[in-house]
């Protein structure tokens, strides 16, 4: 192979990484691959964040578009056909080389590859697949690969993508069709959910096959499953619409995650879109609520409803739920069931497990909760502990909200970080 022109590659890279940065998906977890004896790369289940940009976001994969030329005109997208951004296009070989060189130096866990749509959906998808296939077959590369399903790709191509990639995903972008009609007239929710359905079916089918096969392992299909992304704050859609849409996606298509991406101003943006700073606090509240749906047995309707269509920004969604449902409390940490403990503001999944583990050996006091780093400022009003806890008498007080909501309206960075890492609220 002749040496690539690195200056040319650098200039394309600056355009095509810039074009990809609005996709929030960064995870490299959930898959297992052993290194091939003739190549490099493996995946060990837990993802690795190899770097962090000054925006606090992790850099785990080489996240790029194959091209930012696109025939669509989605208003929220920096790559829409009517945008005046610079355009570029990588060849499949260039992407393969970049991935291998980056990986070899331990910059990344693997590749996240998406693309603007050129010619047709299938023609574009075929090129993405070609990159993954070359990495796997020619270079025996067993690092992580996440391929984006180009909107409207045919089922055969989705099925082939899953053979080479660890994760295959389709973005719904907006919670409801009405939003797409305004901002992405040529896109439909249905086209995304059709792809999701095809992926979900194939993933579970492959798992069944793997279970059955003994002597010859059936081929894997997207072992890290699928995810999707919704853009938040580009339209007036409420958190209720968003969370109900997520809940239904989780149930129907067994998604690993829904990513929420606060719409952030883009260069050359469309006039229909807001220019103010992205709604980062709202984005974080949605992530918190999303954790409650997946790991705390909450229903979307409990968190947002007609009366409260949006999550409050000044406190976490579990505390907000607790304030509206005080009859549920206080909960006795020394006797309550797991699902009751999970509803207590400030108690996360891991701490609930620890409490349950400790209970046979020790009566748990407020001080013990403090040692577990439970945020007592919030939690103490909702629990009965082995010692005297006078604050629990304030449970019905009108001023409770003031006591538990942080003074500043701005969410502390620590909270955001904690949530992002552990998912505990």
């Amino acid at each position: 192979m002749s040496l690539p022109d690195w200056n040319l590659i650098k200039s394309k890279l600056s355009i095509l990484a810039d074009a990809a940065k609005y996709d929030a998906s960064c995870s490299s977890s959930g898959s297992h691959r052993k290194r091939d004896a003739k190549g490099m790369g493996n995946v060990e289940g837990m993802g690795i964040c190899h770097s962090y940009a000054p925006d606090g976001r992790c850099i785990s994969l080489l996240k790029i578009l194959m091209t930012n030329f696109c025939i669509f005109d989605c208003k929220y997208c920096v790559n829409r056909v009517s945008s005046d951004v610079k355009r570029a296009k990588f060849s499949p070989d260039e992407i393969v080389t970049l991935t291998l060189e980056f990986y070899r130096r331990n910059y990344i866990e693997g590749l996240f590859l998406s693309s603007g749509i050129i010619e047709s959906s299938d023609a574009t998808m075929e090129k993405l697949i070609q990159v993954a296939k070359t990495l796997r077959q020619v270079h025996r590369f067993n690092g992580y690969i996440h391929l984006k399903v180009v909107a409207g790709s045919s089922q055969e191509l989705i099925e082939e993508a899953g053979l080479w990639a660890d994760r295959v995903s389709a973005n719904v972008e907006m919670p409801v069709q009405k939003d797409l009609d305004i901002l992405a007239p040529a896109k439909t929710i249905e086209s995304a959910t059709t792809s999701m359905n095809q992926i979900a079916e194939k993933v579970s089918e492959a798992k069944e096959e793997q279970k059955k096969s003994f002597r010859f392992r059936a081929p894997k299909f997207a072992p890290a499953g699928q995810t999707t992304q919704m853009i938040v704050g580009a339209t007036g859609s409420t958190d209720s619409l968003i969370l109900n849409s997520s809940q239904s996606l989780y149930r129907k298509y067994a998604l690993r995650r829904v990513y929420y991406s606060a719409y952030s101003p883009i260069p050359h943006s469309d006039v229909l879109l807001p220019t103010e700073q992205p709604q980062l606090v709202r984005e974080n509240r949605l992530y918190q609520a999303d954790w409650l749906l997946r790991f705390y047995n909450f229903e979307a309707q409990e968190l947002v409803n007609d009366e409260n269509p949006d999550l409050p920004l000044d406190m976490d969604p579990k505390s907000a739920w607790a304030l509206r449902n005080r009859q549920y409390f206080p909960v006795d940490v020394n006797s309550a069931a797991r699902e009751q403990l999970l509803r207590v503001p400030g108690l996360g999944v891991r701490n609930v497990e620890r409490i349950l583990q400790m209970r046979p050996h020790r009566k748990i006091s407020l001080l013990d909760l403090g040692k577990l780093r439970v945020p007592l400022k919030r939690t103490k009003y909702f629990v009965i502990t082995s010692d005297h806890n006078p604050d629990v008498f304030l449970l019905d007080s009108q001023h409770l909200k003031k006591n538990i909501a942080p003074e500043s309206t701005q969410l502390s960075l620590f909270d955001i970080k904690q949530t992002a890492v552990s998912g505990e609220i």
Partner: protein, 458 residues
Amino acid sequence: MELDFETWRIEARSLLQKGVPPHLTSWELTQSFFTIADSELKPLPSPKVPKEFMELAALVACARDPQRWALLYRLIFRLNHENAKLLNVVVDEDVHKAQLLAKSVSKDIHKMHAFVRFKKAVIDGQETYVAWHKAEHYIVKLATPFFVRRFGDKPWSIFTPDGSAHWNMETLSFSEGMSQSDFEHDDPFDEVWKTYYRSIYNPARLKIKMMKQEMSPKYWSSLPEAEIIHELIRETPQRLQNMSQTEKFLAQVPDTFDWSEVKKSALSCNACPLASQATQTVFGEGNLHAELMIVGEQPGDEEDLSGSAFVGPAGQVLAQALEKAGVARESIYLTNAVKHFKWTPANASAGGGKARIHKKASGSEMHACKPWLEKEIELVKPKVILALGATAGIALYGRLVQIQKERGKVRTDSAYAKTLLISWHPSAILRATNSDEASLRFNDLVSDIQSALAATKS
């Protein structure tokens, strides 16, 4: 020589068997000792510990904390004498401390897996990868087998101040440490990585604290990308300002149903920079109750001077096509997606004189002008719209339309009209490379006009 985990394990086992309580032991020296006569001890012939303890202890043993050996002995003693399930009591002082240390070591191992940056080198004629990394704890032995599993196909070395690891494609060996100043390797490829790092950063979401929490500055000295962090942060306010100050153009359309009034106000539109360059606005014209509306791209030189749509060479081609299709120009409404002429002066030295060369409107200019087109559609309410050319296609289809592929396909799901079609712009016929192509496209146009006409009657 520091104690290592294996030596501690053997030592601790023998102390436990003798029954020596933790407060009488000392782990300061290379060997533990205790200060009590054997006779006063309660021996424990076969001490036991749970598997979880050994996993925890293997991590704690790597912590950069002189108290760790004593802590581990206290735990192992209490597990045997006090509570075999002690590790479940996570709020216990010793358990808590051990878990904190283990967590810190695990995190350090994870960060080493993340932050080692290999540089390509050629050593003794062989392609080798080398890295220098500074860990917080004594983790070289625990952390480096990961790199064998991942990069076992090439030789590599990782140097740290506390010890170094070497892979020769057969065995992993360890040697003494190295300071950063002795590590002299450059990899020009780091520049490509920095380019990526710079471009993947979104300045609209600057969160320095969060970055530092996850990627502590103590690791920065060996991260090539860290060299540009300050520069990126410094540029951020300016980049944000540039983004918010990028002018966004949108025509202000009067709220009226009177076509003449709308046109009048369009004539003075200066929503985008095209207005200052053009002679006048070229608004649509024709039958205000037309069932067929034809939307072209943008006015050319002659349209700009006359103020009427489709009067130049392309307009003449359209007139011929309309005639051949049997459509009277007066019966339809004709307009353009963009209402101002855009041009650049011809290169005079190349003999261009004062000619104005047509230039395609940019995305933001097309967008700025769209409200006029939408208002025209709202007023005329055509049953059928025929878009001519790509610009009209983007305006009406919401995406780039490949005319060759999509002409002849009737769209009935458009918000603009019951029926939407697309065809060649007459200028594409003028630009055709040969007369065969030109007449082919002309016939296409005629037949597309006929289909549009038929659709008005259905």
